[in-house]
């Protein structure tokens, strides 16, 4: 059984760039972001690129443990990347993997489902 916020051991989340992912990106079926901040260490480092699948929050609920992109509750004009620690009817409890150094639901509380923008599918480390 998965414990709350348990990081996923998914090697396929760190793939090499492929023609398929490029096609999905160009056609708008996936979106690309670059990460600023250290709160998702060791999974995501500053400068890494993440590919996320945009979702309709009214029709989609992320799995516990998924890494998601949401509208930042502290600054709605920007996006935030965190991991789903727990789900409830009231919203998503988000945490950074770097728990000692992360501003997340422990500070800003639950994030409403409507703030969900997408689910991270791939991470391209800066060095690649």
């Amino acid at each position: 059984m998965q414990t709350p916020g348990q990081p996923q051991a998914r090697k396929q989340i760190f793939p090499k760039p492929s023609l398929r992912s490029l096609f999905l990106l160009i056609t708008g079926l996936r979106r690309q972001c670059y990460v600023v901040g250290d709160s998702m260490l060791p999974t995501i480092s500053q400068g890494d690129r993440v590919i996320y699948r945009p979702v309709d929050p009214s029709k989609f609920s992320p799995n516990q443990g998924s890494i998601v992109v949401v509208k930042d509750p502290l600054d709605p004009n920007s996006l935030l990347v965190k991991r789903v620690y727990k789900k409830s009817l009231l919203g998503l409890e988000l945490r950074g993997d770097n728990e000692l150094n992360s501003v997340d639901s422990r500070k800003f509380g639950l994030v409403s489902h409507s703030s969900l923008c997408g689910v991270v599918e791939q991470i391209f480390p800066q060095a690649n």
């Binding site: 760039p17 979106r31 972001c33 990460v35 600023v36 920007s78 996006l79 965190k82 150094n101 501003v103």
Partner: protein
């Protein structure tokens, strides 16, 4: 070859910024917070050692004694945890593998300092609290030297 080309194309495509908020403005670290917490641990340890239980069976005096003793212990334990947290942030977030070349004993220093935090939390041991202060001072010098600065070590108490 194909991978490199694809990687270059990916990097050339527009990408929106997404934040992974950390505790403070990213890149702002200071061992001062660990020093203040460690000083509180030492101060509380000294105060606990200086406390003398009341003579006789005066219940009010015993209540006051127990209350003060408990408060000092609670603060000592809380500040020991805080010291450990602050040190771990410096260790895991600020210091990078390249710092190991300059400070080969970096991991050992932090590991021992974290152990001292635990020892100070569970015991009333002035010697350990003083050792913790020395470890925090060593980390203070390592930190500022790594930034090319030589901040003097000053304590609040």
């Amino acid at each position: 070859m194909l991978r490199s080309a694809l990687s270059a194309i990916f990097k050339s495509l527009p990408a929106q910024k997404v934040k992974a908020h950390c505790d403070g403005p990213c890149g702002v670290y200071d061992p001062a917070s660990a020093r203040v917490a460690a000083e509180a641990v030492l101060s509380m340890t000294k105060k606990l050692k200086e406390m003398a239980p009341p003579q006789g069976n005066d219940s009010a005096a015993w209540a006051a004694y127990n209350n003060t003793f408990s408060r000092y212990v609670a603060i000592k334990e809380d500040q020991a945890k805080e010291t450990k947290k602050e040190l771990l942030i410096l260790w895991t977030d600020y210091f990078k593998p390249e710092h190991l070349a300059t400070y080969p004993d970096l991991h050992d220093t932090f590991w021992k300092a974290a152990k001292l935090c635990s020892a100070c939390k569970v015991n009333i041991d002035q010697q350990k609290a003083e050792e913790l202060m020395k470890s925090v001072e060593k980390i203070h010098h390592m930190f500022w030297k790594s930034k090319g600065r030589a901040d003097t070590w000053t304590t609040a108490s």
